[in-house]
Symmetry: C2
Subunit: 257 residues, 2 copies
């Protein structure tokens, strides 16, 4: 099962799954996804890849913080004043972070507790459903992905993969795209290093972050303001694998922090 | 034609187009794509989006440099020694660049003449087909995209979009994904700023770089070692627009250069 086009697959289909209703703490997301897919009459196949928006995973795991219960530290207060942000929100971001990568121009970029570098440690106020409430990332997104995968596999009897995605900005480029923050059942990369190119020359550096590309392609269906929290990808051949840690560049290999 | 899922589109299909044969200087890529699609029996529709690998665009435009004709400057010599790279190759990278963003750990990140920040100004040795030859980016990728779009539109009678894509690494994350470097017939962004979220709260920052996501999704079919230089995306609703310049973050808004 080498990647993408290499073995003749020349077609991929993406389906947006709706009709999951509001997600509540304790919900079995695998079951909700399974039922939504069955209702829409989309077949279950080995090799299916489910891209699940972080937001519904965090909601199912009850990862809320009530801002009124947050007491900002003096450091959070002064950082918030500098960035013209809300001190309680900055306090939550700092609690979710290991280090600050940049704090300037009203932007707070951190390395969060999951090791991901992004704005505000990935905490979020939109689509949370209650004013004064903030949604954190899942505690262990890889474990969340594995749980959803196992639930889906036991219900459908198929071998599938799950990618949990979130929307972040990038250096150098305007606009946001989706990235993979939790992975189960698929390798993070499609690795061409040491393979010959079309002319027999060895490829030195190409190592495609296929799960990030899958997250981005799924976002095209998920959007931000409508209830499409899951996209199903069919027809993309891939190797199996577990975990998203390999996606995170070690600080000694990173020229931008 | 608001983006993605907003108006009921819940399915996207991606097709890899092969059978284009070797691309040569002067080739009409629009015509080659049209013929490949017709041969494969895939229908032509308004709103189709063609993602075209930079490499075939550069080949059609004859953007080759013969390394034996390159005379490296003293600066290129010393930078090459520091990075343990080939002086002639560094000279070509510098000629294609406006500024150096980082030069360390054997990596040379530049702002290239098109304004894109990436390794080696985007110049490439793999899949070029001749030792000692380097392929540059198209001179004006937006113009290249417009040319291909017009050729496809005149042959098919349909209104389509063209995105030229290339594969780059990212700060903070391992692996490469595809980005849009030339755009015609589609807006770069799907803009949610000022729109309400599911709960009526105004979204402040979400502005999806949809053409980058389209490039990444197309890469899933294009791969690196096989001849799939074009992917066709069907079913993704979008607003029309021209050019890729809006994707490039102004230096005053960029915390990472």
């Amino acid at each position: 099962m080498r990647g993408g086009s290499d073995e003749g697959a020349s077609r991929i289909a993406l389906y947006g799954l709706r009709g999951m209703g509001e997600v509540r703490r304790g919900d079995d997301l695998g079951k909700k996804i399974y039922e939504s897919q069955r209702k829409e009459g989309i077949p279950f196949d080995d090799g299916d890849i489910y891209v699940v928006a972080q937001k519904v995973v965090s909601k199912a795991e009850g990862k809320y913080v009530e801002l009124e219960e947050v007491d900002p530290s003096p450091f959070a207060e002064s950082l918030a004043a500098f960035l013209k942000k809300e001190p309680k929100e900055v306090e939550v971001v700092l609690r979710e972070s290991r280090s600050i990568v940049r704090a300037r121009l009203g932007v707070l970029i951190t390395e969060n507790r999951q090791g991901i570098i992004c704005a505000n440690s990935g905490v979020d106020k939109s689509n949370v459903g209650k004013e004064g409430r903030i949604l954190l990332l899942p505690e262990k997104p890889d474990r969340s992905a594995a749980r959803i995968r196992k639930s889906l596999e036991s219900l459908s009897g198929k071998k599938v993969a799950v990618v949990i995605s979130d929307t972040y900005g990038r250096p150098w480029r305007e606009g946001q795209v989706d990235f993979a923050i939790g992975v189960s059942g698929i390798s993070c990369f499609r690795d061409y290093r040491g393979k010959p190119d079309m002319y027999g020359r060895l490829l030195k550096v190409t190592n495609i972050a296929q799960v990030d590309e899958l997250a981005s392609s799924a976002e095209l269906l998920m959007g931000k303001s409508r209830g499409v929290p899951v996209a199903l990808v069919k027809g993309y051949l891939h190797e199996r694998g577990e975990g998203s840690r390999a996606l995170i560049r070690k600080v000694t290999r990173d020229l931008f922090r």
